[in-house]
């Protein structure tokens, strides 16, 4: 039985449809990433699961029981906000104790729960510190410990890594994945960062305008995007989309290779580009070019480090990609053509 079931849920604010008919299931132990830009409805959906908002229609079931109309206090969920929302006038220890006291968890279990959460997040040296004296990474771990300590059915994360510096974020992401695997807590994770979604999610849900565009594993979303929106949203740099009559051809920057260097013969696409710009990113180069024989569309190609120096600006180069990496989308429906 799925831990979380969302059945045809909508949410209207007057004429605005923030969430426009969502069906979703979350299995036990799974981390499901809700991926979308601001305004896609992902945060509204999460808030409805938490109980902070009520759906305009549809049903939400946690552990098989409908929770619509039940306040957050009586739902077995824990939530971590982007700002971490630590209670400012309390110490770390008091913060972690807060949900145990509020939810009337039996007092005998408190110490072992705290010990477990604190050791999981490695914050035992922070217990007596005021929350206003924590760094970004530290406060995030405290917020996680506070959520963990109740051992809830469902974890809700609302962009918890957004507030962290870019450097800290990578480490934090790895630690988060590790934590989720070890504790096995079913998690719903909202983010606008596709890298986070792909890196953390067992499955990823891509949302736009309150609707689901695609659900699948990160590999599925990357290799077989269901429509143009998913294709351009997933992957960095975004997938190249080239017009060819009634079809839009999609091929990723990392799958294009120089024709004379290609070790395959059956190419799915043949592109002639005049290189206008080169970007050095350390582990790779990005070449920005314009199509010579087509509509003059812009194309990005990823070049291995040794090649970057040997590509000259303003010159014409030919690129190919394997057939399996070239995707075709119908121009009208924007959907993938198999």
């Amino acid at each position: 039985m799925a831990v979380l079931e969302i059945r045809n849920v909508t949410k209207h604010y007057g004429k605005i449809h923030a969430v426009d008919g969502i069906d979703l299931e979350l299995e036990e132990g799974e981390l499901l990433a809700l991926l979308g830009a601001s305004g896609s409805g992902k945060t509204t959906l999460m808030r409805m699961v938490a109980g902070l908002e009520q759906p305009s229609s549809g049903d939400i079931l946690i552990d098989g029981e409908s929770v619509v109309g039940i306040p957050p206090r009586h739902r077995n969920v824990a939530m971590v906000f982007q700002s971490h929302a630590l209670y400012p006038q309390m110490t770390v220890r008091e913060n972690i104790l807060f949900p145990l006291k509020s939810r009337k968890v039996p007092k005998e279990t408190w110490q072992e729960r705290i010990d477990w959460a604190v050791s999981m997040l490695r914050i035992d040296h922070l217990l007596d510190r005021r929350t206003t004296r924590l760094s970004g990474g530290e406060s995030q771990r405290v917020a996680l410990a506070r959520a963990l300590v109740r051992d809830p059915e469902l974890f809700l994360f609302d962009e918890p890594l957004s507030a962290l510096d870019a450097q800290v974020r990578n480490v934090a992401r790895a630690e988060l994945r590790d934590l989720q695997r070890r504790t096995g807590i079913t998690t719903l994770y909202v983010t606008h960062d596709q890298l986070e979604a792909l890196g953390l999610g067992d499955r990823v849900v891509v949302m736009k305008d309150g609707r689901i565009r695609q659900v699948g594993t990160p590999e599925e979303l990357y290799a077989r995007p269901a429509d143009l929106f998913v294709a351009s949203f997933i992957g960095n740099p975004p997938m190249n989309l080239i017009e060819r009559g009634e079809t839009i051809v999609g091929v990723r920057a990392e799958h294009l290779v120089l024709k004379d260097r290609a070790d395959f013969t059956d190419a799915g696409i043949d592109l002639a580009l005049r290189v206008g710009q080169l970007e050095f990113l350390g582990s790779e180069w990005l070449a920005y070019g314009v199509e010579e024989d087509g509509d003059g569309g812009r194309v990005v190609v990823r070049l291995p480090p040794d090649l970057g120096d040997n590509v000259t600006l303003g010159e014409r180069y030919e690129f190919v990609a394997e057939r399996r990496h070239v995707k075709h989308f119908d121009k009208q429906s924007e959907r993938l053509v198999e």
């Binding site: 938490a50 206090r73 824990a78 906000f81 929302a85 209670y87 006038q89 509020s102 939810r103 005021r130």
Partner: protein
């Protein structure tokens, strides 16, 4: 055409310090003229034997005025009452303002109308408020008494005995309570405005988090809201406390210090001595007794406010 006014303007506007002084000027003049000068005058008066008929300041009589007023019965009562009224008013204001602010922080229908009505007691001229309350508290014609009679709180068989009236202003205890009530009624909007600003600056996510963590109304109020409001509550206490302690209008209009002298307060006694009674020296001496209390409260409150800021 250069020179003249434009030249003068640039000579000031382009120099920050000069511009600063020019802009501060009116405020400084105001404070010196309407606060500084009267204050110095009051101090000088308190050490002199000036009267309304003979307002000469330069007859120095040392501490004679102060010694004289300390022994006045009305002075002692006035000091006690001033402290009592202020203390009780502030306590009530703290509780009521916190509750009212919780209501105003949430959306509800007709909120604009309710907000306007809630401001009225403060916006109303104090004389107008006092006259309205004089009617409410009248010994014969009080509408409150009428309501109480209808619900059997007063009158034969009523909870408070066969009496038909409460005589709010005619009995010592009730008269003081009436003064406190009017002060609270009048000051509450001011306190609420100050505290509401603080309440609205608490991020909503904190309340969302508390709800999810399982906190009910009271836990949220005492563990999150009030600790966060502490600096702003202190500011509210400071402002309203000073205003209540130094107020003579309400006692003047409502009870004139009566019945007997039981609702006398220091500022009113200073007024009675100095202006009505003509003894400027004694009046000033009484008024100056307010100063150390007000100063102490201000210093204490600001110290607390800064300290909770540090956290």
């Amino acid at each position: 055409m250069k020179g003249g006014p434009r030249h003068l303007w640039e000579a000031v506007a382009d120099h920050d310090r000069r511009l600063g002084w020019v802009m501060l000027g009116p405020a400084v003049v105001y404070i010196v003229a309407f606060i500084g000068v009267p204050f110095v005058l009051a101090v000088l008066l308190s050490f002199s034997n000036a009267t309304v008929g003979n307002p000469t300041i330069h007859h120095f009589v040392g501490l004679q005025n102060f010694i004289q007023v300390i022994h006045q019965r009305q002075f002692v009562t006035g000091l006690e009452n001033s402290l009592l009224v202020t203390f009780v008013t502030l306590a009530l204001l703290l509780v009521l303002a916190t509750i009212e602010v919780e209501l105003l922080a949430r959306p509800f229908r007709f909120k604009r109308l309710v907000q306007t009505l809630l401001i009225l007691p403060w916006a109303m001229p104090v004389a107008l408020a006092a006259i309205a309350w004089l009617w409410l508290l009248d010994s014969q014609f009080s509408p409150l008494d009428w309501i109480f009679r209808q619900i059997h709180v007063l009158g034969p068989g009523g909870i408070f005995g066969p009496a038909m009236h409460f005589y709010y202003l005619g009995r010592t205890g009730l008269a003081l309570a009436s003064i406190i009530a009017l002060n609270v009624w009048r000051m509450l909007p001011l306190a609420v405005i100050i505290v509401l600003a603080g309440r609205l600056s608490i991020p909503q996510e904190l309340f969302d988090q508390a709800e999810i963590d399982g906190a009910g109304v009271f836990r949220t109020l005492f563990r999150i809201t009030i600790p966060a409001l502490t600096p702003v509550l202190i500011v509210a206490v400071l402002f309203t406390g000073l205003l209540v302690f130094g107020d003579m209008a309400i006692v003047n209009l409502l009870t004139s210090g009566g019945p007997g002298n039981s609702t006398q307060v220091l500022p009113y006694w200073a007024f009675l001595q100095g202006i009505n009674g003509g003894d400027l020296g004694a009046g000033a001496a009484v008024a100056l007794f307010l100063l150390p209390v007000l100063l102490a409260v201000a210093i204490f409150a600001l110290h607390f406010a800064y300290r909770s800021r540090e956290d």
